[in-house]
Amino acid sequence: MFPFVCRGIMRAAIHTRRIRGTLPGRLLSSCDGVPAGLADADTIFALSSGHGRCGVAVVRVSGPASATALRCMAGLTRSSLPPPRKALLRCITDAKGKEVLDRGLVLWFPAPHSFTGEDSVEFHIHGGTAVITAVLQALGSVPGMRPAEAGEFTRRAFQAGKLGLTEVEGLGDLIHAETEAQRRQALRQMSGDLGRLYQNWSHKLKRCLAHVEAFIDFSEDELIEDGVLNQVDTSVCHLQAEMERHLKDERKGERLRSGVQVVIAGATNAGKSSLLNTLCQRPAAIVSPMAGTTRDIVETALDIGGFPVLLSDTAGLRDSPDVVEREGVRRARERVEQADLTLVVVDCAHLLTDAQQAVDVLQTHLMCVLSSQEQPETDRCLLVLNKSDLLPECERQKLDREMRRVSGLPPVCLISCHTNDGLQDFLTVLHSSVKTLCGDPLSGAPTLTQARHRAHLQQCVAALAQYKRHRDTDLALAAEGVRLALTSLGRITGRVAAEEILDIIFKDFCIGK
């Protein structure tokens, strides 16, 4: 580490001059297709193919360390990079070349003839979760590599002039979709134990940083107790130890559950729990004719046409004076917010026979159920009209006909959990929705997320070591360590702005000068 760092000094000395000289020309050069200024950027990697069951998965790598990664992991010596853009069958190993992870194809795209304009590598491997996880972890251990952020490949491609302006619009949408998917996923994680743990760390680090900053910016003239830094020392030590333990012990029990998150929601007594029981073919949830029977979330894992699904039944949405039920409703709304797919269950006896009025009622109801989502997404929901057995046959057929005709609603299924009438049709619709979601590379990517978390946590631990190294000699560099740690953690829990640190400073200390 040490000699490596020193070699950088000379380069940087020369570089400082270059930055000033050529500053305004940078964008222009990127228009010529030369990725100027990106030459020494990080090397990024990500699973580029879809999640869910697939025969082959593609892991893409882009950046200056791509060739290194290819050499380490495909058992290639220095002289023999494969011919550009030709598939080569190799044993794919971990970064040290010791353990064989898979046998698959590797492709080498030297700059600038690649999608991103940088050196790129693709690994075509078998699609099992274990293989993908192993390959991503191996890539993460190659120096200079990190998991890609949302839309980063595409952004790099744009910056290298590989995408036209017409494609930018699509890029914006793509990044929006990716960040939306990540946001949903983050929300999901944040409400779990893991999320609470990370939030707690982030909170502690924020305080540490604020206290170090207060000591730097104010202690000379202010009454900032000398004990402040000692507290920070203790906190940093604890945090570092805790994170190291967390990284070692994989916490298998806390691993993210994979699968599509399907949530059943709706008014009370619509038959949500019956739907759950019908789908999992066992009485997983208590059902009764009384409104408000279900209070907590009932979860069950299902296999729908080969796709893993985590089905949650939730409390009926209504205003209730009962504290326990109110909590249940809150949890239900939270779950809807995190859902990949929401099944909105409606008692069809509440629908009037007039088709247009029924549509209006359903639309209003839908908005009410999905209101906890930031932007209600009707394309990620199915309407389930339950209790069709209670309608007279002619009414039922009329409603069924009308519902097939109307537009402006998500797919509608008329079923009876009591008689299983219409269930087969519903399963077909559910299957195709789940399939779309699984084929969508954006929905829940547990392995990728885990690799990302791991990389960021490792950076966080390393940065805390920087604090300890400089604590007694250079507080500015020590503070930089805490700041880096917080930034790394922030990539998991959300960003931290400078103003937030100042707020803590002013809350905790009386600053007078």
Partner: protein, 709 residues
């Protein structure tokens, strides 16, 4: 008459001083100059009706602005109410500090005045945070008020192309905009209260400080004004800004403590604080300060008592400044707000000298606005001040500021061509913050007047850039003060390297740096590079190093080759130690020993920041047209994002990304409307259209082989 008497004594003082301080590398002044030439010079310019740049206000922002505009080459007029208050330190008699010291160094690196003035007027120099690392060292000095004013006045009055005029600005003259540039108005000059003829200029810099609709508060009395003893400024200016130009304004408050008669203070009861034994000058041009080490004056520290808290509480009903809810700072609060916010604690009070010959003390931390009799009661609750007499009571000021998000990074009002604002009018507090903005506004006002492209400083290269970026992107909710924690790239933006960061740019791109300073900066840069190269060329095995430097503690047990540069990163290794081993190659660089040590230690961390810096600079080189209609842009942006963009009108993609509420997707969609800026051309250039040459087959094949996801 009073003014010329003052100038007279000023000249004499100066002539005397110049001799004793001949070692100071200040800019060559046409000295000795006479009162006669001063007066004739002023008189000669009275006839003139037209300038390139007019600066209104003679405080820290105004003086830096005027001097900078003149250095860039603009014919400049500084208008102030009283020439004798130019360069006055209205509040605390000190300069620099943690974060603020960095600003002083940067202003100096751009050839501004305040660093050299501080070296001239300083009477107590300290480097704050000495033990906390060079990135956060805070050079600071107590100043002699008289000397500071003298330096600034003599510097301004001897600056070529700069005229100083006494007068009160009645009106800002505004007309139709130049249609080729963005903006709804164009400034054409000013009208003075006592003259019917307007004075015209291409640019006007307003540095009105606390005078814009300023009101002074003491006890239950309120009087119009911006500083005790000075006439209030005319309401016309405030009216033009708000009504004619439609600028959004807000109101802020600040205050100053009573001045105390030194002889009446029992300093034995306070803790003595001595200055550094070797004063470190602010300016990169100075090797020494004017004040000799042994001539420096001490400061004293004391604390408040429960009695102070009692007096504050008893006087609350008599204190209308405290009762009004205008935004005051969380830092630099009055003793009233400190006591109310943190009751039951004792608060620090610094007793600072006001000058070598002054018989007053400045009680830092006792800013207050209660009636004078209560002020006396309050200070006498502090043991050291038990018999203290008040010379001038403290008071509060409330004043208007212009919401700074209406400014461009050049500190120009976005909707008014040629109008620049700097200092407290932008919602900041502090001399250093004002000076930094003043310099940059002055530079850009001159650039505008001379049809040169606007210049910007990035937050990745300077604290000035951080200050301006925070102001124009985020605005202020309380008086803005600089802290080192505001600078993300603090490890790279150090006080020691401000010259390398800014002087060369200031000379080559901005044109505000004298050739003397430029040559010095080039010499320093080259020497540092040569020295670093020499350090890395010197390689010995660890065993040999241990032999040559017996005290050396190295963790590596193996016997490997280590360069002198690597060794210098160790805590206990100094450049002098290495120079003693290799005198022939290293002793030429002895004068840079401290800077080399800092460079060696910080370089690895600066390198780590470089990537992030480059990313930001790339985005800052992509400018967003100022006249973009965000509400009708045919891209998918949420209404909320459109509103934010329309309100703030970020000038670059970089600043757009830092706005609260802007999503990554919005940034990417904005890329469409981005323009590449080119420092050589004024205004907008061609769009960022990647003009692709015909793709060769191979290229197309490459793209197809690796399709976007």
């Amino acid at each position: 008459m009073a003014a010329s008497m003052k100038s007279c004594s000023l000249v004499n003082t100066f002539r005397g001083c110049e001799q004793s301080a001949s070692h100071m590398l200040t800019k060559k002044r046409p000295l000795p100059w006479s009162v006669l030439s001063l007066l004739s010079r002023r008189a000669a310019h009275l006839a003139r009706q037209q300038y390139d740049v007019i600066v209104v206000g003679g405080g820290h922002a105004g003086t830096e602005a005027a001097a900078a505009a003149a250095r860039v080459g603009a014919e400049t007029l500084l208008v102030t109410q009283k020439i004798q208050t130019i360069g006055a330190l209205s509040c605390n008699p000190s300069l620099g500090g943690v974060g603020k010291g960095q600003l002083v160094k940067e202003v100096d690196a751009l050839d501004g005045l305040c660093g050299r003035a501080g070296d001239w007027a300083g009477i107590h120099f300290t480097i704050l945070n000495r033990k906390k690392g060079p990135a956060v060292w805070g050079p600071r000095a107590q100043l002699d008020r008289q000397r500071y004013r003298e330096f600034i006045q003599s510097e301004l009055l001897s600056t070529p192309r700069l005229t100083v005029l006494e007068g009160s600005v009645e009106e800002l003259l505004v007309t139709e905009p130049n249609p080729e540039e963005p903006g709804h108005h164009r400034v054409t000059g000013i009208r003075l209260a006592n003259r019917s003829q307007p004075i015209t200029a291409s640019s006007v810099v307003l540095t009105t400080g606390t005078f814009l609709s300023g009101a002074l508060f003491m006890g239950q009395t309120m009087s119009p004004g911006g500083r005790f003893g000075d006439a209030p400024s005319s309401a016309g200016l405030s009216h033009t800004l708000r009504e004619r130009l439609g600028l959004r304004t807000g109101r802020l408050r600040t205050g100053t403590p009573p001045r105390i008669v030194k002889d009446s203070v029992d300093l034995c009861q306070a803790e003595l604080h001595l200055p550094d034994t070797h004063p470190t000058p602010f300016s990169f041009l100075n090797k020494h300060t004017r004040c000799k080490p042994e001539e420096q004056l001490p400061c004293h520290l004391t604390t408040t008592t429960p009695g102070v808290e009692r007096v504050v509480k008893e006087s609350l009903h008599l204190n209308c400044h405290i009762q009004q809810d205008t935004k005051g700072p969380r830092y630099c609060p009055s003793i009233e707000s400190r006591v109310l916010r943190f009751p039951g604690r004792s608060h620090q009070v610094w007793l600072e000298p006001e000058g070598l010959t002054s018989d007053l003390l400045y009680p830092q931390g006792l800013s207050m606005t209660m009636p004078p009799d209560m002020q006396l009661r309050l200070i006498r609750e502090i043991p050291a001040l038990r018999r203290a007499e008040i010379h001038t009571p403290g008071y509060g000021v409330q004043y208007d500021f212009v919401c700074p998000t209406q400014l461009s990074p050049a500190l120009q009002v976005k909707n008014t061509q040629g109008l620049f604002l700097a200092g407290q009018i932008n919602g900041t507090t502090g001399y250093e913050e004002a000076a930094a903005q003043g310099l940059w506004a002055g530079v850009n006002a001159a650039h505008w007047a001379l049809s040169l492209p606007p210049v910007a400083l990035s937050r990745t290269e300077s604290y000035i850039g951080v200050l301006i970026d925070d102001l124009v992107c985020r605005g202020v909710t309380e008086p803005y003060r600089m802290f080192t924690s505001r600078a993300e790239f603090r490890t790279s933006l150090r006080p020691d390297n401000a010259d390398l960061r800014l002087t060369l740019k200031g000379s080559e791109e901005v044109g505000c740096v004298s050739s003397l300073r430029y040559r010095e900066a080039v010499r320093v840069r080259d020497s540092l590079q040569d020295a670093l190269a020499a350090l890395h060329a010197l390689t010995l095995s660890t065993n040999k190093w241990r032999n040559k430097l017996p005290g050396l503690q190295m963790s590596e047990n193996k016997n490997t080759l280590v360069t002198a540069g690597e060794l210098l990163q160790y805590n206990h290794v100094s450049f002098e130690m290495l120079a003693s081993v290799f005198p022939e190659s290293l002793s030429p660089y002895a004068e840079f020993s401290q800077r080399l040590k800092i460079e060696a230690v910080y370089k690895p961390y600066c390198d780590m920041q470089k990537k992030e810096i480059e990313r930001i600079q790339r985005e800052e080189n992509m400018s967003l047209p100022q006249d973009l209609d965000y509400f009708s842009l045919p891209v998918s942006l949420s209404q909320e994002v459109r509103e934010i963009l329309d309100r703030v009108r970020p000038s670059t993609l970089g600043s757009a990304t830092r706005l609260q509420g802007i999503t990554p997707a919005a940034v990417v969609n904005l890329l469409r409307y981005v323009h590449a800026t080119n420092a050589g051309l004024k205004g907008r250039t061609h769009t960022n259209q990647p003009e692709r040459k015909e793709e060769r087959d191979e290229e197309r094949c490459a793209r197809n082989a690796s399709l976007p996801q």
